[in-house]
Structure formats: C-alpha cells, structure tokens
C-alpha cells in the first residue's frame, strides 16, 4: 500500500477536479479542501471508490454560518476518514443564503441521513434528494433555523442583564 499523506491527497484531488477545487490548505495537520457545490458528490464518490484512498467513513457532517461573507454565507463541512490509510480531512462547500441547496450524501453513506436532518434543522440547508428531510431535534412546527447567527441566545425582551459590562 502506497503511503498517502496530506500532500499527495490534496494534489490528487486538485489534479482530478481541476479548477473546481477552490483551495487546499493544511491547518493543525488536517487538510481543508474547499470545493464547488457541483462536484461534492462526485468528489466523495471518487474518493470512496478510489483504489488507493478508500475513504470509507463519514465521521461527521455539519453546517457553519458566516453572515458577513457575501453569497458564501452558509457552509457545509464534511469530515471524512480513510481507515486503510488513517488519513482524515475536511471538505468545505460554501452556499449562498438565498439558495441553500446541496445534493444529499445519503446515496453514499447511510449515516448521513440524520446528520443532514440536523444540519437542515439548524441552518435551513436543503439536501436535495434526501429521503426524509424533516426537523429532528426540536418541535416539528418550528419555522426558523436556530443556529443561524441572527438569532441571539438570550431572550431579546430581557432587561435584567447587560452583557456589555462583561465584554460579551
């Protein structure tokens, strides 16, 4: 088995998918790959079926909200793991808040089902093709997505607490 490291993995992905790979960098020893939405499923499928990489495990999937980034407000982070090579890396996809849609990963990993439901619930990201995209943790009729940054944690009507004195 050929040795696989971050550099080889990053270069192979860039070579295979060309300019649809937006950036590849290493932070704290982990590869962060930012790609276009259109190649996310083909990319993960390619990595999963690749002879050498054999990325067989989806560790986690979550959303992040960056309200200041114009047209790149929402991001979906896939954290993948190849048991054979013991290499772990993240794939990031940025989505505009006006059209938060991305193809589902449930076609490749059954475990993505609830992770995507949770991400949908928290951030309103719609996973196209998901078999059962419903709210999972909160009440069924909740009509907003609580982890978006515009929703403060503290009840806005509360007056007995002033955080500004604490630098918060």
């Amino acid at each position: 088995m050929a040795e696989v490291n971050n550099q080889i993995l990053g270069e192979s992905i860039s070579a295979q998918f060309g300019n649809q790979v937006l950036s590849v960098e290493e932070t704290y020893g982990t590869l962060d790959i930012v790609v276009e939405k259109s190649i996310i499923i083909p990319l993960i499928k390619w990595l999963k079926t690749h002879d050498k990489f054999q990325v067989n495990f989806l560790t986690s999937l979550c959303g992040v909200h960056f309200p200041e980034q114009n047209d790149r407000e929402l991001s979906v982070v896939y954290y993948l793991h190849s048991f054979i090579n013991n290499i772990r890396f993240r794939i990031h996809v940025f989505l505009p808040a006006s059209q938060p849609e991305i193809p589902t990963l449930t076609t490749l990993f059954a475990g993505a089902n609830w992770m995507e439901r949770e991400t949908f619930e928290f951030y309103g990201i719609k996973f196209i093709g998901h078999p059962d995209l419903r709210i999972i943790l909160n009440v069924e009729d909740m009509d907003y997505h609580p982890l978006l940054k515009q929703y403060p944690l503290v009840d806005a009507t509360r007056t007995d607490k002033d955080d500004k004195y604490f630098g918060r």
């Binding site: 932070t27 989806l58 059954a110 609580p146």
Partner: protein, 412 residues
C-alpha cells in the same frame, strides 16, 4: 403502551417508501414504545409497526431532552463549556470533559506533561469501566437477570468515589481544567484506585460467570439485533458497537491522544455485531481498561499535573491573593476575557460509546464561533429501525440497551 391509528403513523411519515399493497390482506398493529417507558432507560419514542409480535418497521422520534448545546457553546467562554460536555454522555462525563480540554489545548498548541497525560488516561479508563458496567449490567437486567447488576453496580459507586476525591463531583464531574487538573492526585486517590483494581476483577469475573455462558442469557442475545460490518461502517458506527461487528476501529489506536501510544492493550472485536457480541466486547474492554490503569500507575512519571497555560489555567490561590499578576489572570479567566487563536480544529476521544469528536471553529474571539459535537449515539441510533426489523418486541428492548443509547448524548 397504547395503540395508535394508521393515520397517525402515516403522519409520522413512516417507512422508506415501502409498498403497502398487502395491507388489505394483513392488519398491522401500531405500538407506541415510549417516550417514557421503563424498559428503554431514557426518553426515546419508537412507533412500531407490528405484525403480531414481530416488528415490521419502526419510526424513532428523538429530541425529548434537546438543550441546544451547540448554540449554548457559541455564547460561553471556553472553560464554561466543560460543564455542557458533562451532560452529553453522563455515564462517562470525565471522558467528555477531557475531550473538550484536549480540543482547546490543540487550538492553543499546548504541550502537556507526561504525568498529566497518564493521570488523564487513568481517569478516562475508570470512566470507561463505569460506562460499560452500567450498559452491560442493564443488558442483563433486561434479560431478567437482576442479581448480576447488583454485584457490579457497587463498583461504579467506588469509581464515583474516586471522582469525588479528585474533583468533588460524582456524576456531572466537570473534572480538570483546560491545561490540567486542579491539583495533583492525593494519596487517598491512589489508595482508592488501588483498592478498586484489586477488588473489581473478582466482581467482574463473578458477573461473567453468572451471565456470559448462561443459557437463558445467550438465547436472548445471540443473533439478536445484529448488523454487518459493512452496514455499520455505512452508518458511521464507532465504539463497541462497530467493534462488535468486526471492525477494529478505536480512536485510542488510530489517532492517539494523551500518550495512549505508550500503553499496551488489545482491541476486542466481535463477529456478528449482535447483542451478545456487543456485550462481550464491552466486557473485554473493561479488562483492558483495568490493564491500562495498572500500566499507567506503574509507569506514572514524576512531574507536573498541569501544563503551563496561564491564560486558561487558574493560578494558585496564594498567587491570586499576593501578586498582581495572579489576580489579573484569575479575573480574566473567570470572566472569560481571553482571546484564542483563529483556526479550526477537530479533536476526538474514544468515549464510552464511540468516537466523541469536537469540531471547533474559532474566529479569534472569546467564545467558539462554532462548535459541532460529533455524538456517537446520535449517529448510530439511526440504524436502530434496520437492526430490529423482523425481530420480536422483547428483542428490540435488548437491542436498544446493548447499543447503549444515552439520551443526553443523543439529543445534545
């Protein structure tokens, strides 16, 4: 338990588009198992579609104790998030606490002394034993064997006494700080650990003698609620449930933390991924944990019990009262006025149920910008309907308890 109508079940959008053509011929019953059913050990609801006593399909509803930890974490200083992690898998809180400390330490680039690593390993392995004692003895209770449960459960109590000696708390421990432990372990702690190590093996063997080769227990658990290794990987299983299906993935070995590479231990694996295999894997892991603790005590290095992180590790009280710098750090830490570096890290630990991961995005502020917690329970519980399809109702209960689904971790 109440019967509910077909309509109600359809409202819950059951079944993955399964054809209902034989419905005219067959009348199914719908059974509401939970949310508060004594046999599920927590708040889980499953609407079961039953053909007689055989389960045709299940529709789980979760979130009954959802507390929005990820949102809470975005509004708290780093050291206050430790108390949130207590409430994930509350059967092994110290593992969650230390996992979180390790995450922040990774972001800060802290180098921990060996002694601290070994002390943390001791505590985490004690927590693993406590976690597995609960799970396995409760599996036995669900098959009707209450005696074994009573034999081993007092040892969980002894482990809680060790926690208490170290940090003052028992269940939601909030053990240690970012950077290390509050104080070095006292002689009393080591005495209690040694006492546990000499007496727990006898209790564990007794429990195994009672249960492991017991005809009734084996009939109830062998080939019940099984899953293949391939399916388990598809479902992102981790921990004892994955290892019972034959995949030897363990975070302690694959991505070692806290000097786990210094220890010699084996990773038990099962073959069929059924309830019995899960039970046996957990049982063997307890023996391995005992061995790890023994090695850690034997090779315990001299040195510091905390790393040098003045920004996060509270100074000793003499310094706070007598020096300006100590007072300033104390104030800044308690008020959460410390900025951290910008970046993103993922740190995982092998929790009682599997890979507990913290994905932390920091924008350089005083709180996490985003904290995603990879909760093993949440991820593997989605395979539950698949695992109980075609089995009896009583098997479904056993499957759930042997998967060790902890409501706090499931719902976060």
């Amino acid at each position: 338990m109440i019967n509910i109508s077909d309509d109600n079940f359809e409202k819950h959008k059951a079944l993955n588009g399964q054809e209902q053509s034989d419905q005219e011929l067959k009348q199914y019953n719908y059974l509401n198992l939970g949310p508060t059913h004594p046999a599920t050990h927590g708040i889980f609801q499953n609407i079961l579609k039953m053909d007689g006593e055989v389960i045709v399909d299940a529709q789980p509803t979760i979130g009954y104790i959802h507390r929005a930890f990820e949102k809470l974490a975005e509004n708290r200083p780093f050291y206050q998030i430790t108390t949130i992690t207590d409430r994930l898998n509350y059967c092994s809180s110290p593992i969650n606490n230390i996992g979180w400390h390790l995450t922040v330490e990774k972001l800060l680039g802290v180098k921990t002394p060996k002694r601290l690593d070994y002390l943390r390993v001791i505590i985490m392995e004690l927590a693993r034993i406590a976690d597995h004692i609960i799970c396995n003895s409760v599996v036995a209770v669900d098959t009707g064997a209450l005696t074994g449960f009573l034999y081993v459960f007092q040892w969980r109590e002894k482990i809680y006494e060790i926690y208490e000696e170290i940090c003052g708390a028992r269940l939601t421990t909030n053990i240690g700080r970012i950077g290390g432990f509050e104080r070095d372990f006292s002689e009393k702690v080591f005495a209690k650990i040694n006492n546990l190590l000499t007496e727990l093996p006898a209790a564990l063997s007794e429990f195994e003698k009672l249960v492991m080769r017991n005809r009734i227990f084996m009939d109830r658990t062998v080939n019940v609620g099984g899953i293949t290794g391939e399916r388990a990987l598809e479902y992102s299983f981790t921990g004892p449930n994955l290892r019972a299906a034959g995949v030897d993935y363990d975070v302690r070995v694959m991505t070692p933390y806290c000097s786990y590479e210094d220890f010699d231990f084996t990773i038990p694996v099962g073959s069929s991924g059924d309830t019995y295999d899960r039970f046996c894997v957990r049982q063997e892991e307890m023996w391995q944990s005992i061995s790890i603790i023994k090695q850690a005590l034997k090779n315990l290095p001299k040195g510091d019990f905390h790393a040098d992180v003045p920004e996060f590790y509270l100074p000793p009280k003499e310094e706070v009262y007598n020096t300006m710098e100590g007072l300033i750090w104390h104030f800044k830490i308690v008020m959460g006025e410390i900025n951290v570096p910008k970046g993103q890290v993922y740190q995982s630990v092998e929790g009682g149920n599997g890979e507990l991961g913290f994905y932390l995005v920091s924008d350089g502020g005083r709180q996490p910008y985003r904290l995603h917690i990879r909760r093993p329970c949440f991820i593997y519980y989605q395979a539950y309907p698949e695992m109980i399809k075609g089995s009896m109702l009583s098997d479904a209960i056993l499957t759930m308890s042997s998967m060790n689904v902890i409501a706090g971790e499931l719902d976060a």
